[in-house]
């Protein structure tokens, strides 16, 4: 009758309620990574901003140099990050589980798609990645996965090429198609 879940991922428990009863082993420290990454990000962006070229005073006038605004933003983010740390300290979160295998493979496929588009062909890359995604996501019938991958790609390719007049970058397939 109802929706039942058995996700491989940790349940997204709202912070607060059971936090006070968590033992040190149950507490998740993964959330502290976020403020650390944010601080590093703010530092790196501010550092890069300081190396930005200075605009001629006549162009800037009474306004600000192009480097000032990004640094100002990073300062604001850093201040908010401190508030975030205070929040996390006040309400420790339960430990998060790692992503299920399919998520890692799907993310990896995004990288594979990048490599294939760069070195092979965008259309062939799309077919290969869609086919693999279908299988990774649980499609057992190879012909269905192949049909989805080839059918969708071909349909979108021709609609883009003929209706929207979009030209795709050169690669194995497009070289053959465009001549």
């Amino acid at each position: 009758m109802s929706t039942s879940t058995e996700s491989g991922r940790a349940a997204e428990t709202p912070p607060g309620a059971e936090a006070e009863t968590l033992t040190p082993e149950e507490r998740g420290w993964g959330d502290y990574v976020v403020p650390a990454v944010v601080f590093v990000f703010c530092g790196v962006v501010s550092g890069i901003s300081l190396t930005l070229e200075e605009a001629l005073p006549i162009m800037v006038g009474d306004s600000m140099q192009p480097r000032v605004f990004p640094i100002f933003l990073m300062a604001l983010i850093a201040v908010l990050n401190v508030a975030l740390i205070v929040q996390i300290l006040g309400r420790p979160l339960p430990r998060r589980l790692w992503e299920p295998r399919q998520t890692w493979v799907s993310a990896l496929l995004l990288g594979v798609f990048y490599l294939l588009t760069e070195y092979v062909d965008i259309i062939l890359a799309l077919i290969a990645v869609m086919f693999t995604l279908c299988l990774v996501w649980g499609e057992r019938r190879l012909w269905v996965a192949a049909l989805v991958a080839v059918g969708t790609t071909v349909a979108i390719f021709f609609s883009f090429d003929l209706l929207l007049e979009v030209r795709f970058p050169r690669g194995l397939f497009t070289d053959w198609y465009y001549g």
Binding site: D62, F69, L73, L80, L133, L164
Partner: protein, 499 residues
């Protein structure tokens, strides 16, 4: 001007091309809204590249129709499988699903369809009347006022429902920083381009939006592959009975007002509106104890409010260029891409186009009423499409859509990168809509700050001394502090009740 506006709105009803386009897009929107994970924002982001060759009115009609129809359609799965098709339908689950469990799924869907349609039509009327009035006020805005207004828009991110207020503000500021990538608009100094001249004019919005909304959702969905959904069977959608109308009419009217008002507030959207619409319905109900167990007012309150927010959210988007929600952020990009620069001038220079868009929204509301009534059962079946087939197709549309705008591979790589970034944001409890809104507002914030500083010879403190700017900055402070004020008040109330 009024005549021109009315005739532009009426012209939609007699234009067979637009009517057909709205019908097809409404069907698409209802399917998108019914599929959990594919909401109005993702749908609009995916379809945006396909509108590039259309004329502006048709293109924006596609996007707004997706917006209104997908917002309604989220209720179909909320009621039948207890999984909201869109975040805006989350409140509908609370009473819609218990009604379905009692064998009253058809009644619940009938109430959802009627309430959504009334909410949607009400908000389009408010939009058509209110937007030009606001546009007149906006004529008075100078850079300090626009700067303060955008700050207010960003501050409202603190109170959108997903994520915490601090995280939302951080996401918004990250979005504003993304807008600084490329050459500085005033001086031409290159920022964060790392020698990549394809980024000279900044990040294209479309690949970022496609990545953040569609590809990140793909990764989110990959964590839910083991989720088993069981659908409740339903014979047909039933129109509400007279007894139902008597029970819900006040709730619907109240939610229309709430939804439209919440929608008008920058950055707030249908999700917040539906939550408030639902809680107000409960607060004013004579039988609040029935809420959560299958109260029809609960369904009506949430559904009228979320669809009323659609028209409301279009007001700041079109008049001020400040998105009223995540989906209107995508629509705003559509307006810009098609040369319709949002702002008060839009209402004098392009009034026929603007009112044709409003007319199309009105027609879309009527069409989803008919579709919802007669075909909801059929649309509910789309949830049976296996994820292993649906999401690879979404992937194909995402990458080719990202590519098509500038026909540049860098846009595809940007979409891929933002897919992963968006996923990480969501994984650690950050909402992604603030990033999109920040990105769109970013240039406006910086340019108006620069121009304000030039106006006042570098004396920044002159900005809050301008009355209208001061008003918006005070609202911004209230916007940031209101989640804390409300939680403090709630704690106090709970403490009182406890003692």
């Amino acid at each position: 001007m009024i005549e021109q506006a009315v005739s532009a709105m009426a012209s939609v009803f007699t234009d067979p091309y637009l009517l057909m386009l709205i019908l097809v897009t409404t069907i698409g929107g209802v399917i998108i809204g019914a599929l959990p994970g594919l909401g109005a924002t993702t749908g609009a982001a995916l379809l945006l590249p396909f509108t590039l060759t259309m004329d502006p009115v048709a293109a924006i009609t596609v996007l707004t129709t997706i917006y209104v129809s997908a917002t309604f359609a989220g209720s179909i799965t909320a009621i039948l499988i207890n999984t909201p098709g869109t975040a805006a339908a989350a409140a509908t689950c609370l009473d819609g699903f218990p009604l379905a469990q009692r064998g009253e799924a058809g009644r619940a869907l009938g109430i959802a369809v009627v309430a959504s349609t009334i909410g949607g039509i009400f908000s389009v009327i408010v939009l058509a009347i209110g937007a030009p009035l606001l546009a007149r006020v906006a004529y008075e805005f100078r850079p300090p006022e626009y700067f303060a207004l955008t700050v207010f828009g960003l501050s409202m991110l603190a109170s959108i429902s997903e994520g915490g207020s601090v995280k939302n503000l951080m996401g918004g500021l990250f979005g504003v920083w993304l807008a600084t990538i490329g050459a500085d608009a005033t001086t031409g100094v290159e920022r964060f381009m790392f020698g990549n001249y394809e980024l000279y004019q900044g990040l294209n919005f479309i690949p970022v939006l496609v990545g953040m909304f569609a590809l990140s959702e793909l990764l989110v969905q990959s964590t839910r592959l083991n989720q088993i959904m069981e659908q409740i069977s339903m014979k047909a959608v039933k129109l509400p009975s007279m007894a139902d109308y008597k029970k819900i009419w006040k709730t619907v009217l109240r939610s229309c007002g709430i939804g439209t008002f919440i929608g008008i507030l920058p950055a707030e959207g249908a999700t917040v509106a539906s939550m408030i619409g639902y809680s107000e319905a409960k607060r004013w109900s004579k039988t609040p104890e029935e809420f959560g167990k299958g109260a029809v007012e609960g369904v009506a309150g949430a559904e009228a409010a979320n669809n009323a927010a659609t028209g409301g959210a279009m007001v700041p988007t079109m008049v001020l260029g400040i998105p009223g929600s995540g989906t209107t952020a995508v629509i705003l990009v559509g307006l810009l891409v098609h040369g319709l620069r949002p702002g008060p001038h839009l209402f004098t220079e392009q009034i026929d186009k603007v009112y044709s868009i409003f007319g199309a929204m009105l027609v879309a509301n009527i069409m989803f009423f008919a579709l919802g009534l007669f075909a909801a059962k059929l649309f509910a079946r789309v949830t049976l499409v296996p994820r292993g087939i649906l999401w690879p197709i979404v992937f194909a549309f995402s990458v080719l859509g990202a590519y098509s705008l500038a026909q540049s591979m860098i846009d595809v790589y940007i979409a891929l990168a933002f897919g992963v970034i968006g996923y990480l944001f969501r994984r650690f409890g950050f909402a992604i809509a603030p990033v999109a809104i920040g990105l769109i507002l970013g240039e406006m914030v910086e340019t108006n700050l620069q121009n304000s500083l030039k106006m006042f010879d570098g004396q920044w403190w002159q900005i809050p001394l301008q009355p209208l700017a001061a008003f918006f900055l005070i609202l911004a402070v209230l916007g940031i502090s209101q989640p804390y004020i409300f939680s403090a008040l709630k704690r106090r109330k709970d403490k009182k009740q406890g003692s």
